[in-house]
Symmetry: C2
Subunit: 348 residues, 2 copies
């Protein structure tokens, strides 16, 4: 798998600047918390797992800068960085989780010295990165228990090496099929309005020489009608207790069309994506994005229009009854999801 | 209805340059066949009926230029113009139809003089324009027999005053509802990949102060799930004997989603859109557009990729069983379409 979202080499963090894709493949060095903050805000790096990993490394390289400080000052400065970074993207669960992992180390009263703490932070950051990559890999191979082969699959948004610390979630299953020599062809939704499918997934598949075809979102149903696809897979931003799935806008539309054509719908997500505190999908808050995001595409001036209105949700909810199976790093679960999700978490 | 696609004023043809929308509203004068040809090729004017009407006027203004020629030379020059224009867009049926209407006049051996022929051509061009506008208007009011009120309707692509000689087909029904004071709100699909919904329909609705909301194509199903819409309407490029409908890519996806949510799907098209020579939709050729049209959006260089592939059909087929009713200028027809389409044409 080529072109990871981030690399840690020679004690240095590099990220692939995704704003330059597909024009230019350029890794930039993240030297401090300010650079990390800017990279997240400007979408140079995106995808909840990838952001969390970069934040962990950023805490380590920041700690290294303060190596000559006394322990109290060291903690104070790092806590400042922690609060600075955690506010960068409040909705990304992995960012807060990774930062809290790092904070538990530098706030640990039992640690012997600043230098020991810095060493522990490096080990932890690498471990967070490695664990994510392993979960992706396991998820990928688990997916092969359920995908058809030959596989003609539609995927939505970007869930691959550009979004995680490994080869991805839904894309991870595709990479696993490729590694096992399956006969696979991937149809990539462009994924409006920001085009993460067209701009990132299509690029990622091309770079890895995986046979693929780019389509507009509204071509998917027509492709199904022609019997040119036999499966659908996408990731998840949140999966609740009954198996309802929040994911990038357009996932629901795909699932409805697949259901009409009797094509299975797979969701791939690590167990960290499950939120069993919510009963059903209606309880998941849906982020509404700025209308300018779409109006600007067509060159509209916001002030020009009397009845100016855009409905631009970033996510939608796919109800559990439209989902065939959910692929996790701990295995594949099927209906009834209420029961199988509970069983999944009892394994721990 | 503001901003018609074309105007004929003071013996002069003006078209709204649609390539400048929504930034600038500018009418340009069509002075000769070369300008008309260029305007069609560059998509300054589009929509099969609108193109046909402009071609008819162009034949008239060209004829006027040759008013001092003898009849034989006059015919020869006009026939040259006829062949020049008919090749501009071979798939648009209305273009050929309108040009043939005009040709029957200047090739008419029984006409008394060049000046009489020019007069007849002017009258015919105006008549083609007026007849199209009247058909649109009748279609619009016929649609009110079947649309719900209050009406929360999704429409796709551009079928309004920018595409026809009147207020449009599917959009005509919307204009009729507005004229009758209905409680109507229009949801406009952006209509990928060229965005005729986002760029033209949304602009047209705003200009006419009709309450509307722009959405991405893949948001439509989610909107239906939330019970925020109660109907879908789109136009047609061809309707065959069994009622299957070819229309802009994404129409099928909308119809599938509407079917899942038990929302009625209406198609609005003049009887000239019916092609009873084809039994079913599988027989309709689907125009495939250049992959560059989509690759360029994301800045891909065609040469960069090994597995470069884009599936970019301009149209899809919605089977008759997903269509609730077809609205024409002669009335509204319902299932079984095989039978009702035959009855529609027996009325003549």
């Amino acid at each position: 798998m080529n072109n990871p979202a981030l690399k840690f080499e020679n004690d240095t963090v590099y990220i692939l600047d995704q704003t330059l894709l597909p024009h230019q493949k350029k890794y930039i060095r993240i030297q401090d918390a300010e650079a990390a903050f800017e990279a997240i805000q400007a979408l140079r790096i995106r995808g909840a797992p990838a952001i969390g990993i970069m934040a962990a490394y950023t805490m380590y390289i920041t700690a290294r800068k303060y190596k000559d400080d006394d322990f109290i000052l060291f903690r104070k400065k790092l806590d400042h960085t922690y609060h600075y970074l955690i506010e960068c993207r409040p909705t990304a669960v992995n960012l807060a989780w990774a930062l809290n992992e790092m904070r538990s180390l530098f706030m640990d009263e039992s640690s012997s010295s600043v230098s020991e703490t810095i060493k522990a932070m490096k080990i932890r950051a690498i471990s967070i990165h490695k664990t994510d990559a392993e979960a992706c890999r396991q998820m990928g191979f688990n997916g092969l228990d359920i995908l058809p082969n030959p596989c003609r699959i539609i995927t939505h948004c970007n869930t691959g090496s550009l979004a995680t610390g490994g080869w991805g979630t839904a894309m991870g299953v595709i990479y696993a099929a490729v590694e096992k020599g399956w006969d696979i062809h991937v149809f990539v939704d462009e994924t409006r309005p920001l085009g993460q499918g067209g701009r990132l997934t299509f690029w990622e598949l091309q770079q890895n020489r995986i046979p693929c075809t780019l389509i507009t979102d509204s071509t998917a149903a027509f492709l199904m009608k022609q019997k040119r696809v036999n499966s659908v897979i996408f990731g998840a931003d949140r999966i609740v207790a009954n198996g309802d799935v929040a994911n990038k806008i357009g996932s629901y539309s795909l699932a409805v069309a697949a259901n009409y054509h009797q094509i299975p719908v797979f969701v791939a997500a690590p167990t960290s994506t499950f939120d069993r505190s919510l009963e059903n999908g209606d309880m998941i808050p849906i982020e509404q994005r700025d209308s300018k995001e779409i109006l600007q595409i067509y060159g509209y001036d916001n002030n020009l229009f009397v009845h100016n209105d855009v409905y631009n949700p970033a996510f939608d909810i796919t109800p559990a009854d439209l989902i065939t199976a959910i692929v996790t790093e701990r295995g594949v679960i099927k209906k009834p999801f209420q029961k199988t999700i509970n069983q999944l978490f009892k394994q721990i």
